[in-house]
């Protein structure tokens, strides 16, 4: 089989000699090309995508796969993964030999694998819009000037609120400034004082993406790199000011469980005891409608109590965490070039258009204006323009896994630690984790 590829590659090189030279002139020798002509007949590419692709834009996956199969003759087997513990599954699989060729990971998860040699080097120029990739996504793909993954899609966080409760409380519009936001929260709180479960702002205590957005809004940082050494910055006065503001807000307006994270917030908000929440653009939809059978992504959508009563707006004066996913070709893959070509098809302009239609943000700043034309994600597209992402450190994923920020937030909210003590503790933990040899 290998010889066959070699022959095909040699043939291709002779036939398209000039073009091949032109295309690969700026590429490293070690980089896998996404433009080579590969005969994929009889081969099957194994692709691991996260479950979001199956539930929200399966059509885009199928279309890209079809175009890829037509071009190369190779088949594609897409396996959809769950977010809970998907890294453990990936580790176990990468330790063996039968590995997936293409893997999707969250943007904050990639660095660890890139640094440890899990993914193959790619030729950045081969992919569409690569010069305008969202840096919040592509940052994790880069190491020593080389590229190891391709940004796939992004999500930005917005303010989602109840239009009916706004009207009842005498609030005319979505808040334009942070002061507006607080006064809206006050009015909601007063108007709904009867419901003891009511949160003017639903803010779960371990929602660190939100807390860190407040830190960023004051000019604070989580950690910075000086030479080879990372230093936790949560104790800095600006970071503490941001944390303090978030803590005050949460204590005053939220009845949410301080030991929960944001995973269930749309579902809890759908119960009707919340005025506003801070979530991904698509969470508005999750709050308004749920699948009749949660385990079946094709089952009918059932409206919730808040159906038709929600609207979204950019969170005023708070930069958004840019979440999202990247795609990489595994170092152990035996079909690297085919895998790169599939990624190329799945991240090209046509696929991105499909993602925009499915309410996901595209991977490039050049496409954000186009995304803004879709009313469902217009606010998220706006929010993505002023966004932040966690330290691009090799061991950042370990900080997340160790629940350092989450524990700090719960400890502060329950009064176990002051903001200063909590921040100091978290800095120590972050320093130890990020700088561990």
């Amino acid at each position: 089989m290998k010889r066959k590829i070699a022959v095909a590659a040699a043939l291709a090189a002779t036939l398209f000699g000039a073009a091949a030279c032109g295309g690969s002139s700026d590429s490293d020798e070690g980089a896998t090309s996404a433009n080579a002509t590969v005969d994929g007949k009889g081969k099957t590419l194994k692709v691991w995508l996260m479950v979001d692709a199956e539930t929200a834009w399966k059509g885009v996956v199928d279309d890209a796969t079809q175009r890829f199969t037509t071009a190369t003759g190779a088949q594609v087997n897409v396996e959809y993964q769950q977010w809970a513990n998907h890294l453990t599954k990936l580790d176990a699989t990468l330790a063996g030999t039968d590995v997936p060729d293409v893997v999707e990971l969250g943007n904050t998860e990639f660095s660890k694998y890139v640094f440890n040699g899990g993914f193959a080097e790619l030729n950045k120029g081969d992919f569409e819009n690569s010069d305008t990739w969202l840096t919040g996504l592509s940052g994790a793909c880069e190491l020593d000037g080389k590229t190891y993954c391709v940004p796939y899609y992004a999500g930005a966080r917005v303010l989602i609120y109840r239009t009916d409760l706004f009207k009842a409380a005498g609030i005319a519009d979505a808040p334009k400034t942070y002061a507006d936001f607080l006064s809206a929260a006050d009015k909601l709180q007063t108007a709904n004082a009867k419901d003891k479960k009511f949160s003017a702002i639903y803010m779960p205590g371990q929602y660190w993406y939100a807390a860190m957005s407040w830190v960023k809004s004051k000019g604070g940082e989580i950690a910075t790199k000086d030479g080879d050494k990372w230093t936790g910055q949560l104790s800095s006065p600006t970071s503490q000011a941001g944390l303090q503001e978030w803590v005050d807000l949460t204590k005053k307006y939220s009845k949410a469980d301080v030991t929960k994270n944001e995973n269930e917030q749309a579902g809890i908000f759908a119960q009707g005891s919340g005025g506003m929440f801070y979530g991904n653009g698509w969470e508005q939809g999750s709050a308004e409608e749920v699948r009749k059978d949660p385990n079946d992504p094709t089952s009918a959508l059932v409206p919730t109590k808040v159906k038709g009563k929600l609207a979204a707006a950019p969170m005023p004066e708070i930069p958004s965490f840019l979440g999202g996913s990247n795609l990489g070709v595994t170092q152990k893959s035996e079909n690297k070039e085919l895998a790169a070509q599939w990624i190329k098809a799945f991240t090209d302009a046509k696929s991105m258009e499909g993602l925009i239609k499915a309410n996901a943000l595209p991977n490039s700043t050049a496409l954000l204006d186009k995304a803004a034309e879709n009313p469902a994600i217009a606010n998220a597209a706006l929010a993505a323009k002023s966004s932040w992402f966690p330290p691009n450190a090799e061991k950042w994923a370990d900080v997340e896994k160790a629940s350092i920020l989450q524990t700090m937030l719960t400890d502060i909210l329950t009064g176990k630690k002051t903001v200063a003590d909590g921040a100091k503790w978290a800095d120590e933990q972050i320093n130890a984790t990020l700088n561990e040899a």
């Binding site: 809970a84 513990n85 453990t88 580790d91 990468l94 330790a95 660890k112 694998y113 440890n116 040699g117 899990g118 003891k196 479960k197 009845k255 949410a256 469980d257 301080v258 030991t259 929960k260 994270n261 995973n263 269930e264 809890i268 119960q271 170092q331 152990k332 370990d398 896994k401 160790a402 629940s403 989450q406 524990t407 719960t410 329950t414 984790t433």
Partner: protein, 324 residues
């Protein structure tokens, strides 16, 4: 009835003639060979399933295996006792050990006492009630740990949980949105309740079977002699039950010391530091943070602590053999 029954050793009749003795010896040798041969498959499987992974784990704990070595297949560097030194000099690790031990003591004490209480109750009630109790406990026993833990997680959920809903119905009590895991004492009370609840069926059923071994005549005689029921329990029932009690207690200690599923599921797969036990801590270190060797070292230490407890169990098993 004992949990483990050892057949009494057959005493070979003293041979009267040397020829017979030879034949017996030959037969005994052949028997021994057959016995080994018959148990060989089991031994091989045990070696493959237990000894080899244990060996690999011990080797791993003297190396420093991280994600790079796992993915690329490079041989991890040998670091000697570094991983053990790191664990044994780490305050966080000792905190986890102390927490696990405290939980074990509390949960086992409650389980055994309640289990024994239910077993004694089962001897007193009508046969139909006893049958009902047995069936109810079998259901609890049959429930997989993860399912039970998930059910408890929903019961105690701060937003949708039925427990908060019910407590909130009591006049003057505000339990709306009460979070059971903010205060570690409350959180551990939930976890302990779950573990005790799930552990009781085994204890109650085993102990009630053990109680059938207590001769009725002895108890009757004691009553006639004017012993109170407490005296009868202390001086007759418990001494007879003691070997079995030791075994089920030791087993409970071993199971509860390895607590993983319950606190893991109740804390939604990311237990905070106050909810970490040795098992979850070593799992988080190894698989969450890719410190495979450090996780192994913690597991080895856990196994050693467990072995210390097992000594009682093994000794008790030998004692039972002697009694028979």
């Amino acid at each position: 009835m004992y949990a483990v029954e050892t057949p009494p050793l057959k005493k070979e009749p003293v041979p009267s003639q040397p020829r017979r003795a030879n034949r017996v010896r030959r037969r005994t040798q052949r028997d021994a060979r057959t016995a080994w041969l018959l148990s060989l498959p089991t031994l091989l499987i045990l070696v493959a399933l237990l000894a080899y992974p244990l060996y690999r784990m011990i080797v791993l704990s003297f190396q420093n295996m991280r994600l790079r070595e796992l993915i690329t297949g490079l041989t991890p560097p040998w670091v000697g006792l570094d991983q053990y030194t790191k664990a044994l000099t780490d305050g966080v690790f000792w905190g986890v050990v102390a927490r696990t031990a405290a939980f074990t003591v509390v949960s086992v004490t409650i389980s055994v006492l309640v289990g024994l209480g239910i077993a004694l109750l089962m001897r007193r009630v009508h046969a139909k009630v006893r049958l009902f109790m047995m069936i109810a406990m079998m259901f609890v026993w049959a429930l997989p740990q993860l399912v039970a833990a998930q059910a408890f997680r929903w019961l105690t959920d701060s937003d949708f949980g039925v427990l908060n809903y019910l407590i909130d119905k009591i006049p003057g009590v505000d339990f709306a949105n009460h979070s059971w895991f903010v205060n570690p004492w409350e959180g551990w009370a939930v976890i302990t309740t779950l573990v005790v609840w799930a552990g009781i069926p085994f204890l109650a059923i085993s102990l009630s079977a053990g109680l059938t071994q207590v001769p009725k005549e002895l108890l009757e005689a004691a009553t006639v002699d004017g012993a109170s029921s407490w005296q009868a329990l202390r001086n007759i029932t418990l001494p007879i039950l003691k070997p079995l009690l030791t075994i089920v207690t030791t087993l409970s200690v071993i199971w509860n010391f390895g607590l993983f599923t319950q606190n893991w599921a109740l804390r939604d797969s990311h237990p905070e530091p106050v909810y970490q036990t040795l098992a979850t801590y070593s799992y988080t270190q190894a698989f969450g943070q890719s410190r495979y060797s450090y996780g192994s070292a913690i597991s080895v230490i856990t196994v050693l602590i467990m072995l210390g407890v097992m000594v009682f169990y093994i000794r008790q098993m030998f004692k039972i053999g002697e009694v028979d």
